[in-house]
């Protein structure tokens, strides 16, 4: 341990994340950005399509993980179908909320179609509007919080220094008296462990 301010290990993960800055949902972006983006994708612009993908693919994947109860393979299939359908049917939309609502509806309909084809039990929620846009992120945040709290102390320290204090791997290595390579491999192991734990919690 260094002489810097001690890390408050007794605080929960959710409390530590509060006050760490505005959440992405609170960031105000200029309105024409989304309109221009959707217009570009509708016109078949590859750069626009890439931008759209980078903005929404991971978020949509998290959404799929929640509604499929952690079924990763199904989530990937649904994500592929939904993104391709979205590109084909893209039309100009002005706000992020409008785009997200439209995307989740496509994804939800794909999921319902899959349930009917495979005779899987239909989800209890009837419409994607009944699942607010923040619901999936909150569900994942809760699951992640619980999993992080279950980590051993040493692993939590490495995780928090790197992801919440924005320290580099070298700084983390110095603080924990490990080599940089060791920090890198431990971070990878911690992430794999958290991944499996989150998917278990969702199922």
């Amino acid at each position: 341990m260094t002489d810097s301010a001690p890390i408050a290990f007794n605080m929960t993960f959710a409390e530590r994340s509060e006050g760490s800055g505005p959440s992405p949902r609170d960031v105000v972006v200029p309105l024409p950005l989304f309109l221009n983006l959707t217009k570009a994708v509708a016109a078949g612009d590859e750069t626009g399509a890439r931008e759209f993908f980078e903005r929404y693919a991971d978020r949509l994947f998290r959404y799929m993980l929640v509604i499929t109860r952690g079924d990763e393979h199904l989530s990937r299939d649904l994500l592929s179908n939904s993104m391709l359908k979205a590109i084909r049917a893209m039309r100009p939309m002005e706000t992020d909320a409008h785009i997200w609502r439209w995307l989740t509806r496509i994804a939800w309909n794909n999921f319902i179609d899959h349930c009917r084809k495979t005779k899987r039990r239909l989800p209890t929620e009837e419409l994607p509007e009944s699942i607010p846009a923040t619901h999936t992120d909150d569900t994942l945040a809760l699951a992640l919080n619980e999993c992080v709290n279950e980590l051993p102390l040493e692993e939590r320290e490495i995780l928090e220094r790197y992801y919440f204090e924005d320290q580099s791997q070298s700084d983390v290595a110095t603080a924990t008296q490990l080599t940089r390579k060791a920090v890198e491999s431990r971070l990878a192991r911690i992430r794999r462990k958290l991944r499996a734990a989150i998917l278990r919690k969702l199922s």
């Binding site: 612009d45 590859e46 399509a49 993980l65 990937r76 992640l144 995780l159 992801y163 992430r191």
Partner: protein, 156 residues
């Protein structure tokens, strides 16, 4: 929630490779959409041009296309075959007269052959006809039907 942490967690295993492949497919789909739009625009443009050409063709007056006139040099007269008319001989000329100048004369040197009464009657095989002798001694051919008389005989 730290989005970077969540994304890094979810990108463990082969998700990164899957994500990269999906991005390529998304970009390919965008390209297809652009190609389809371009094809539609090109088809619409061709249709518009064709309709415009049809309209202009109908409204403009028909004019004969300018044709090039081929001008050729004509050689000397001696090299060109020329047809010259020649006068007819008097024996080749035909003199015509009006009908009043034409006279007919009987050639009495030729005697027509005489036929008997039976040979005369045989000339009308299916016609009721007879020969009557008059008081003056001449004979007359008589047709039973007036229509036959009008047909075979001249009215003089």
């Amino acid at each position: 929630m730290n989005p970077k942490l969540l994304n890094d967690i979810l990108r463990e295993s082969d998700y990164a490779a899957f994500r990269e492949q999906l991005l390529l497919r998304v970009q390919a789909e965008a390209r297809k959409r652009r190609t389809r739009a371009t094809q539609w625009i090109a088809a619409a443009a061709c249709l518009t041009l064709f309709a415009g050409a049809l309209y202009l063709n109908r409204t403009q007056p028909q004019t004969l296309p300018a044709t090039a006139v081929a001008a050729t040099k004509v050689g000397p007269r001696s090299l060109i075959p020329v047809l010259e008319p020649i006068p007819l001989k008097p024996s080749q000329l035909l003199q015509t007269h009006s009908a009043a100048n034409i006279a007919f004369s009987t050639d009495r040197q030729r005697h027509p052959r005489a036929i008997s009464d039976n040979e005369l009657l045989a000339l009308f095989p299916r016609t009721p006809v007879g020969i009557a002798a008059t008081r003056s001694g001449s004979k007359r051919l008589i047709f039973a039907e007036p229509a036959h008389a009008r047909f075979f005989m001249s009215s003089d």
